[in-house]
């Protein structure tokens, strides 16, 4: 069954223009993506074993996904043997229903959350709020965008589009609402300290914690969470009830497999050998323990993922959400995450959004937000063939007649000419004849019909007279120099 993803339904040109006008977002996104992309390269250089580890990790993820169902069954068995409960959710709606039921059964009033792309996929916060349960994001970036009622703009740096003045204003409002002291200044440290103080109250008062998950280990029934801030430790250690919503593809068959993959998200995502905190949950507190949740529910979310099994796109299920492909993508660096209109932005978002939803939402992504530069393919630590998939998705779209009629016609016309040298030369002769109406100050500044859009933001040199081909033909082609 196709999955459901929340989307920004404004048309692409609107999303694009908004992104291109947002200078704060552009500056921060460019700074952040460059910094982490460089940190990744430096981390691998300083860590000779890194590359070997990475290759082994690819093997582990591929093999685990191959027999996903089998491993998920073992995982469920293990979790249940250690006091937890496992729920399977076919769609986003199923998952939401399950989570809300758990909350209702315990009369939960306050929920604290770690950062999780899957719960963004479910719009879980909205679901909680609709039944009157207060929910608080505890990752600093997520907390900021929760206050702003916005969506993450980068999967690892959700508030990358906000500057400190905007954040201070949000915190001031929050402080007024909760009758607490506002941040001392718009200094980044002061803002962080405010968040620490404010969120501390929420941590201690919450009666349920919600997490995502970076890996699930079938053999031991373990959930692995990776953070730098330490909020996942709070969420897993403090509230009595823990709910973890995790995509089925996060499964890893066994413990040795985990040891091979565990460093990858940090190494490729932020250029650290491990993030500051790696938290592993393997069951409830039990009678002889002091810590751990009294009740632990794991919701395994499908939402379109198993559609990709046994297709040429299966490798997409190895994605570890490291963000490396976003960080190197020249388009992402310009427009940031919001322009994609999907919870999953960047190259992986372009590929996953149409695939998970069977092209029901945002089918334009593979065509409009990629230059086929192949940077993402090189950056992906999981060797996911992102550029290849993007080309395939364009092809599927064309085969399903999903492109606008005008676009299809123009491309077909163009292809007919440029498929042969003769046709190419003819098109150039025509262009030279036609361009006279569109050249200003020695450059082509506009064009008729659909081609006109191309010139909105750029120009190009006119066709030369003679062209190189013509000159060659006239001189070398006849065996003398002129």
């Amino acid at each position: 069954m196709a999955g459901q993803l929340p989307i920004d339904s404004r048309p692409w040109p609107v999303r694009r223009d908004q992104a291109l006008q947002d200078k704060t977002m552009q500056q921060t996104i460019q700074f952040v993506t460059r910094r982490v992309a460089n940190a990744k390269v430096a981390a691998y250089t300083a860590y000779p074993e890194g590359e070997r580890l990475r290759q082994r990790a690819v093997g582990v993820k591929r093999r685990s996904v191959e027999n996903m169902e089998e491993h998920l069954a073992v995982f469920a068995q293990q979790v249940e043997a250690h006091g937890g409960q496992v729920h399977r959710a076919k769609t986003a709606a199923d998952a939401i229903r399950t989570v809300l039921e758990v909350a209702k059964n315990h009369g939960v009033q306050r929920v604290i959350k770690t950062k999780s792309m899957v719960t963004e996929e479910l719009e879980l916060n909205r679901a909680f709020e609709s039944v009157g349960i207060a929910v608080r994001e505890t990752d600093l970036g997520e907390y900021i965008i929760q206050l702003a009622h916005e969506k993450p703009s980068h999967i690892l740096a959700p508030a990358a589009h906000k500057n400190r003045a905007q954040i201070e204003a949000l915190f001031d409002q929050d402080a007024a609402a909760y009758h607490t002291e506002p941040p001392a200044s718009d200094d980044i440290l002061a803002l962080t300290q405010y968040a620490r103080r404010r969120l501390r109250e929420e941590f201690l008062a919450a009666d349920m914690g919600v997490t995502g998950g970076n890996f699930l280990v079938a053999e031991t029934g373990t959930l692995v969470l990776i953070t730098n801030e330490g909020n996942a430790d709070m969420v897993t250690t403090l509230p009595p009830i823990l709910v973890s919503v995790v995509g089925v593809e996060k499964i890893v068959a066994d413990w040795p497999g985990l040891t091979e993959v565990i460093q990858q998200p940090a190494l490729s995502g932020v250029g650290q050998r491990l993030s500051s905190y790696t938290t592993m949950v393997s069951g409830t507190r039990g009678t002889d323990q002091w810590e751990g949740p009294d009740e632990w529910h794991v919701v395994l979310l499908d939402n379109g993922r198993t559609l990709l099994k046994d297709t040429p796109f299966e490798d997409v299920l190895s994605c570890i959400r490291c963000g490396a492909c976003l960080n190197v993508c020249p388009v992402f660096r310009q427009v940031g995450g919001h322009a994609y209109g999907s919870v999953y932005p960047g190259p992986i978002g372009i590929v996953e959004t149409p695939l998970l939803t069977n092209f029901e939402v945002l089918p334009e992504l593979p065509s409009v937000l990629c230059t086929l530069c192949h940077a993402c393919g090189e950056a992906c630590p999981m060797d996911i063939d992102l550029p290849g998939h993007i080309v395939q998705l364009r092809k599927i779209k064309r085969d399903r007649h999903m492109d606008a009629a005008g676009v299809t016609r123009s491309y077909r016309w163009w292809a007919r000419f440029w498929a042969t040298p003769h046709g190419y030369r003819r098109s150039i002769r025509w262009a030279r004849w036609g361009q006279r109406w569109f050249v200003r100050h020695g450059r082509i500044q506009s064009a008729p019909g659909l081609a006109g859009g191309w010139f909105n933001t750029r120009d190009m040199p006119p066709v030369a007279s003679p062209t190189f081909h013509e000159w060659w033909e006239r001189t070398r082609g006849k065996g003398h120099r002129s």
Binding site: T28, F31, V32, R35, H82, T138, D139, L140, G141, I144, A159, A160, K162, I188, L189, T192, R196, L199, R200, F203, L204, T220, G221, T222, N228, E229, G230, N231, D233, M234, T237, L238, P240, W255, P256, L258, T259, E260, I262, Q263, Q272, R273, L274, S275, S276, Y277, T278, T279, M280, V281, S282, T284, R285, G286, T287, Q289, W290, E291, G292, P293
Partner: protein, 204 residues
């Protein structure tokens, strides 16, 4: 011998590169002195004023260490041993409040990894994560025999132990550096939710 020293040095390099502090007691007699000066250095640097309350648990090999005797003289430090009392909710909640208002957590460790500079803590009937969670300063007492060459070796050890125990600890945490974020304008800030400062006292 030389090998453990090499591992200790590698661990120290990695841990310090992450912003942590490493102190070294070359034998068990020196541990009290080294711990006292490590503690003093860290509280003076990170919490120059205010009262000091420590919540701690220690590995079995240090069960004779008199923490109150060692730290009590430093700015009137109070030491509270964790865990105690019953496992009932009311008691647990009191503990939580107590932990939340303390300044320093002192814990032992399950193992450490030299290649990543990580320290592993398990939840178990006598060890836990809470004292490493809520306080601004976390100090770990690490027997140098517990330093593994790599994080994979450490995880292997955890797996083998769990086989003899019949289960994994409900919670395991690997600490690789202080709590940090770059969520505001991409600038790195230390100390978001977890400790701002972490120190390890390695002893032989």
């Amino acid at each position: 011998m030389i090998e453990t020293e090499a591992l200790r040095n590698q661990f120290q390099r990695q841990f310090e590169a992450l912003g942590g502090h490493v102190f070294y007691a070359s034998n068990s007699e020196r541990l009290p002195v080294v711990l006292a000066s490590a503690y003093q250095a860290m509280v003076d640097r990170y919490l120059p004023d205010g009262p000091l309350q420590v919540v701690y648990w220690l590995n079995l090999d240090l069960s004779v260490l008199d923490l109150e005797g060692i730290l009590g003289g430093i700015r009137g430090t109070q030491c509270i041993c964790w865990p105690q009392g019953s496992r009932q909710h009311a008691v647990q909640e009191k503990w939580r409040d107590l932990l939340a208002e303390s300044q320093v957590g002192i814990t032992g460790a399950a193992w450490a990894a030299a290649d990543t500079g990580s320290v592993a803590l398990y939840s178990s009937p006598s060890t836990g994560l809470l004292p490493s969670l809520l306080m601004p300063i976390h100090i770990i007492l690490l027997n140098q025999k517990r330093i593994q060459p790599s994080v994979s070796d450490g995880l292997k050890k955890l797996y083998q132990e769990s086989e003899t125990q019949g289960r994994m600890p409900p919670l395991v945490k690997l600490i690789t550096g202080p709590s940090m974020t770059a969520d505001i304008e991409g600038q790195l800030v230390i100390g978001v939710h977890g400790p701002t400062a972490i120190g390890v006292v390695v002893y032989e």
